[in-house]
């Protein structure tokens, strides 16, 4: 009887010890504040890094990428410019520049301009009645007057009706200089007609210009019809 009781007590102690160890282990396996230290601290560091490091870095990177885009566009523009320049012949470009400057020179000398007009009138058997010319700024447009100037003056000739009209037509359409006729006044008679008009010859003063590679480039060869017209006018001057 006493042996059985002692056995029971021994089992109870073992069970108690087991329960104690189990409870200890269960306490150990519970979520504690120390377990949250790493995730919470990493979260706080992440937030701080985000505001003080990541956002400025991403902003800088975005600025760099925007700048990169601009640089790439400029590179594309330069590549296009290079390909267009490669298609142009430098010799013909210089020849055409000389020709174009003959028609619209950088300085239009009044004497040579008036000489050409008077020679043309003489070739049509016209008689000079009035001739004068001087430098003027062209037009009311301020931008136009900056880029181009002209030689203008009232001119008056007399002769046969057909000759007067031919003279006007040739001067307007085939003059080696770029000219416009204004305020044309014809006075008829039985035999002779007289014509008076304001003639303007244009020139573009030379200015020092800076090379800008990023201005959209258009090859002058795109306007071959105008170049041909200029070429025709220059040939008239040589005659």
């Amino acid at each position: 009887m006493s042996i059985g009781i002692s056995k029971n007590n021994l089992d109870n102690r073992k069970v108690g010890k087991k329960l104690a160890t189990i409870s200890k282990r269960s306490k150990k396996s519970q979520l504690e504040l120390s377990d949250l230290v790493i995730p919470l601290s990493s979260f706080v560091i992440l937030v701080l890094l985000t505001f003080f490091v990541f956002i400025p870095m991403v902003e800088t990177a975005n600025e760099s990428r925007a700048e990169l885009k601009e640089v790439q566009e400029k590179l594309t523009a330069l590549n296009t410019l290079e390909s267009k320049l490669g298609e142009m012949n430098e010799t013909s470009l210089l020849e055409d520049l000389v020709m174009v400057k003959t028609i619209i020179p950088k300085v239009l000398q009044v004497s040579s301009f008036v000489y050409y007009i008077d020679t043309l009138a003489m070739s049509k058997d016209l008689v000079t009645r009035e001739i004068s010319a001087g430098d003027v700024n062209i037009g009311g447009d301020p931008t136009e007057s900056k880029t181009s100037q002209g030689v203008s003056g009232p001119l008056s000739y007399s002769g046969r009706y057909e000759d007067v009209l031919d003279f006007l037509e040739e001067m307007q359409g085939y003059s080696p200089y770029l000219v416009t006729l204004r305020n044309i006044s014809l006075t008829g008679g039985e035999e002779n007609w007289s014509v008076s008009f304001d003639l303007v010859g244009y020139y573009i003063p030379e200015e020092s210009k800076k090379l800008d590679l990023y201005v959209p480039f258009t090859p002058y060869t795109s306007f071959s019809d105008i170049i041909d017209s200029f070429s025709l006018r220059v040939s008239k001057l040589d005659e």
Partner: protein, 255 residues
């Protein structure tokens, strides 16, 4: 007699009690034997394993516990078996550590990715800028060509601008004179053409009817927008007139 009978009864009861206790002890001893046999069997298995291990490896490589089990032959397993709850909780603890690792890993990966993104962006920009400078220096050789081209274009632009307002004075005079000739015998004294293709014309004829006809013909002509008879007079020598009109610009400019 009664005393003897009572004594016998007491002895019988004692024997019965003894047999009851002995039965209880026997049951307990049987249970103990079963547990002990199980433990012994388990320990024997472990000993066998250790012996096999010892045969393979040196005895020095065994742990203290294994050596104790090897030399004692049989022992009592005092280590309690883990309950299911303990196993689950241990697993939970492990998973929580993984979440910490994941959060740290995320932090590191994010930091590295942002820094790398920044570095790569700047590197690309530097590379592109270098290319741009190189291309610019290459194209500066073509500077004269570009300036010459621009000079030609400037003159072409001026020509195109002036061409918009250019008309042929011969064409206009001839056109109006054709209408005048159709009207009858008229002598034109003056013919003025303005820049906007407005014109003034004066002349003389023998009869007012010719002036009227000329007025009519000028009025119905499709290339003349409007015509006004500014003055008309009749004398002994004939009739004089002056017209003022506007030509249709689209038909005479830009041909």
């Amino acid at each position: 007699m009664n005393n003897n009978e009572e004594k016998q009864n007491i002895e019988v009861e004692k024997k019965q009690k003894k047999s009851f206790l002995s039965n209880f002890v026997e049951i307990e001893s049987k249970e103990k034997v079963v547990i002990e046999t199980k433990n012994i069997a388990r320990q024997e298995k472990e000993v066998k394993k250790i012996k096999i291990k010892a045969e393979i490896d040196d005895e020095s490589q065994l742990s203290d516990q294994e050596k104790l089990l090897l030399h004692t032959g049989a022992g009592v397993n005092l280590i309690p078996k883990k309950s299911k709850a303990e196993v689950v909780k241990a697993k939970k603890k492990f998973s929580f550590n993984v979440s910490s690792m994941v959060s740290l890993l995320l932090l590191v990966v994010l930091s590295l990715s942002v820094v790398l993104f920044n570095i790569v962006s700047k590197q690309q920009l530097n590379s592109a800028t270098e290319d741009l400078f190189q291309k610019e220096s290459e194209l500066e050789v073509y500077g004269d060509m570009i300036l010459s081209n621009n000079e030609i274009l400037e003159r072409i632009d001026l020509y195109k601008h002036l061409e918009q307002g250019v008309f042929s004075p011969k064409e206009i005079v001839v056109y109006v004179m054709t209408i005048v000739d159709r009207s009858g015998s008229i002598v034109i004294r003056t013919f003025d053409i303005g820049n906007d293709l407005g014109f003034e014309m004066s002349g003389s004829t023998s009869d007012l009817a010719v002036v009227a006809k000329l007025w009519y013909l000028l009025g119905i002509d499709e290339n003349i927008d409007n015509i006004n008879l500014e003055s008309v007079g009749k004398s002994d020598k004939g009739a004089s007139f002056s017209f003022k009109g506007q030509l249709n610009t689209s038909n005479f400019i830009g041909d």
